[in-house]
Amino acid sequence: MKNVKRFAALGMTAAMAVTALAGCGSSSSSASGTTTTGAGTTTTKAAASTTTKAASGSSGSSTGKVYYLNFKPEQADQWVALAKKYTEETGVQVNVQTAASGTYEQTLKSEMAKSEAPTLFQVNGPVGLANWKDYCLDLKDTDIYKDLQSDDYALKDSDGSIKGIAYVIETYGIIYNKSLLNKYCQMDGAKIKDASEITSFDKLKEVADDIQAKKDELGVEGAFTSAGFDSSSDWRFKTHLANLPIYYEYKAENETSTDAIKGTYLDNFKKVFDMYITDSTCEPTLLSGKTGDDASSEFALGEAVFYQNGTWAYNDIKGNEVDDDDLGMLPIFFGVDDANQGLCTGSENYWCINSKASEDDIKATKDFLKWVVESDEGRKSLSTDMGFVTPFKTFSDYLPANPLVKAANEYNKTKTPVSWNFTTMPSEQWKNDLGSAMLEYAQGTGSWDAVKTAFVDGWATEYKNAHS
C-alpha cells in the first residue's frame, strides 16, 4: 500500500504543477518581455550601433539596424537574399524574419514586446491598422511614399497621416484552364464556342452547369475546385467573395466604409456561392475538411476547370498538368454590372515603420526601403524573384513574369477593376462568423438566413465592438 501512496502523491504533485502552469499558459509566454524592455532598449541599441559602425567603418549615416518581420512565407528566402545583398553593399545589418503562414499577428505581438522589436512590419489594411496605429510612424516624408503611383496605395489614419505604404498589388478572380475549356467548346451541344463568350454570370453558370453534367465525358471531377472551408481556404469566400456585395453596396451608396451594411446584393452573393458548391469536385458535406492545397492541386492537375483565387496562386499551380499558356482569368461575375466589371485588384500588404524604434533604426529602415524600391537589385528581386506587381513609379520597366498577372492585366484594361473593400470588414470575428454560416448553409445544416444575419447584423455588432 505504501507504494501506491507514494505513487499517488507523485502523480498528484505532477498533475498539480501541470494544471497550474496550463491555467496561465498564455500569460507565462507573454510575460517575459516586461522586465527586460525598459533597461534593454538603450543598452542594446548602443551596442548595436557601435558594432555596425566598426563593421562598415564608413559614414555615420549607417548606424541603425533593420529588422523586417515579413508577412509572406512564399517569399521568405528571397527577402533574406535581398537583405544579405544590402548588407554587403552598405554594411547595414538587415534581419529578416518570416512568420509562419497564418501566424503573423501573434508573431508580431510577441516580437513587438521584445527589446529588439521589428523596425519594419506589415498591417493588412484599416482594420489591422486600428490595432497597431500607436506603433506606426507617419511616412509622409519618406521616399517610398513619394514613389507611389497614386495616393490610393497609401494607408491613412483618420487624421490624414500616412501610416502604411502598399508594396504589392494583387488581383483575384476566377482562374480557368484554357485547354479544358476549349475542349469543352468543341463538344457537341456545348453552350459556347469560345471562352470569350463568357461575359456574364448567367453565361458562366450555364457553362459551369453543363460542364458539371458532362464531367465524365470531359475527364474532369467538376467545374469548380472544391470550395473548402478549412482555414487555409475559407478566406477565398468569407473574405474575397464577400468583397463583391460590399463593393457594389459601397458603390450604390457612394461610401467607402460603413458602420452598418445593408446587404443589398446578398442574393447575387448566394447565386455565385450556390454555383461554387453545386458545380464542384466534391460533395458539399465534405467542404469543412477541404484545404487550400486540395483546391489548388485539383486545378493544377486538371481535375477542375474553374478556380477562384488570385495571382499569388501561380506558385502553387506551376509545373503541373496546366501549362502557363493555358492559364486565364475571368472576373467573378456578379450579375450586377457584368459588362464593365473587371477583376478584383488591390492590396492588403502595407509596410509600416515602428515609431517606437530608435532614431537610428528608423533612419536605417527608411534607407533600406528606398533602396528596395529604387535600386536595380531591389527592383529586380521584387519583380522577378518575388513576382510582385508593385504600386511604385520606379517599377515601370520591371514587370513580373507571372502569367496570371498578365492575364489579369489584359482583362482589366478595358474594364473597371473591383477594389478590395474587404479591408474595411469590421473584424476577423465577422469574417469567421460569416464563414461558419456559409459552411453550415453549404452542408445543409444551416439556412441562408443565418448567412444574412451574420453578414448584416454581425457587421453592426462587430463594428460597435471594434470602435468602442
Partner: protein, 280 residues
C-alpha cells in the same frame, strides 16, 4: 543538526524558489494584472478595470466552449476510468503475454498530442468519407473524435496506475473473502474496489484535469472547426488572445477564470474522493 539545516537552507531552497518564481509566480501575477488591462503588446498595457471580465460572458464562444468542455470532461473521465479499470483487471489475471499487452496499451501515451491528432484525423476522416462527412462537419463529430483520441491515449496510462493498485492488494484479503464464500462479483465489489480507492482518486483527478486542459489534440484534430464550435476551453483562450485584435485582455481574463474553474474542480474532486479512501 537543526542549526546546520537552517544555515544551508538558502542553498537548498533558493535555486528552486528562484526558478519557481521566474517560471511560475511572476508570470502568473503579471497574467492576473493583464486581465484587467487593454493591451496590444504587454509593454503598453493600460488598466481598464473589470470590462474584460464582463466581455468574457458576453462572448458566446466562451459559454459554448465551457459547456462543451464540461461535457467532454465528464464523458472522458467516466469512459477512461471504466475502460482502464477493466483492462487492468484483465491484465492482472494470469494470462499469457500480459506484460506485452501492458506495454502495447501504454504506448499511445508516449506519442505527442499533435501527432496523435493528425493520425486520428486521417483515420477518422477516412472512415467518415464513406458517408461523405468529415470530422469538422459539425461539433458532434469533433466531440466524439476527440473522445476516441483521448481514450486511446489515456487508457494505457490509467491502466498502469490501476494495475499497481490491484497488485498491492494483499492476497490474504481475497483469500479470506473466498473462504467466507464470496462470489467473484462480491470479491470485486467489496474487496478490490474499496482497496483501490486511492488509485481511483489519482485516476479521476488526472482524467478530470486532463479533460479540462486539453489543447494540442484539439488543435490537431479539429482546430476548433467548424467555426469554433468544437473548441475546448484552452483553445478558446488561445484563439481569443491571438486571433482577435483588441481582445487580448479578454483572453487573459478567460485564462484567469479557467484557472479558477480547474482549481476549484480539482480540489473538490480531491476532497470528495479522499474521504472514502481506506486506510490500512
Amino acid at each position: 543538526m537543526e542549526k546546520a539545516i537552517k544555515r544551508y537552507l538558502p542553498i537548498f531552497v533558493l535555486p528552486t524558489l528562484i526558478a519557481f518564481t521566474v517560471g511560475f509566480i511572476a508570470p502568473f501575477i503579471v497574467g492576473i494584472y493583464l486581465s484587467f488591462c487593454k493591451f496590444t503588446t504587454i509593454t503598453d498595457a493600460q488598466v481598464i478595470g473589470f470590462s474584460n471580465y464582463a466581455k468574457v460572458f458576453q462572448d458566446d464562444t466562451f459559454v459554448h466552449s465551457l459547456w462543451y468542455t464540461t461535457l467532454f470532461t465528464i464523458v472522458t473521465m467516466v469512459l477512461i476510468n471504466f475502460l482502464a479499470f477493466v483492462v487492468a483487471l484483465a491484465l492482472t489475471k494470469k494470462i499469457k503475454g500480459t506484460y506485452l499487452f501492458r506495454t502495447i496499451f501504454f504506448m499511445p501515451n508516449l506519442i505527442g498530442g499533435i501527432v496523435l491528432g493528425y493520425i486520428w484525423s486521417l483515420l477518422l476522416n477516412g472512415i467518415l468519407a464513406y458517408w461523405s462527412k468529415t470530422l469538422t462537419y459539425n461539433s458532434t463529430y469533433g466531440f466524439w473524435g476527440m473522445v476516441i483520441l483521448l481514450l486511446w491515449q489515456q487508457i494505457g496510462y490509467m491502466m498502469i496506475i490501476y494495475i499497481a493498485g490491484i497488485q498491492n492488494i494483499p492476497g490474504e484479503l481475497i483469500e479470506a473473502a473466498k473462504i467466507d464464500g464470496a462470489t467473484k462479483w462480491q470479491q470485486l465489489r467489496y474487496v478490490t474496489l474499496p482497496m483501490l480507492r486511492s488509485s481511483i482518486t489519482v485516476c479521476t483527478f488526472l482524467t478530470l484535469t486532463n479533460g479540462f486542459k486539453m489543447f494540442d489534440q484539439n488543435l490537431a484534430l479539429t482546430n476548433g472547426e467548424p467555426s469554433e464550435k468544437s473548441e475546448l476551453l484552452a483553445m478558446n483562450i488561445y484563439t481569443t488572445f491571438y486571433g482577435r485584435p483588441g481582445w487580448e485582455g479578454v483572453g487573459q481574463a478567460k485564462a484567469v477564470i479557467f484557472f479558477l474553474i480547474v482549481g476549484a474542480v480539482a480540489l473538490t474532486q480531491n476532497y470528495l474522493s479522499r474521504r472514502k479512501e481506506v486506510q490500512q
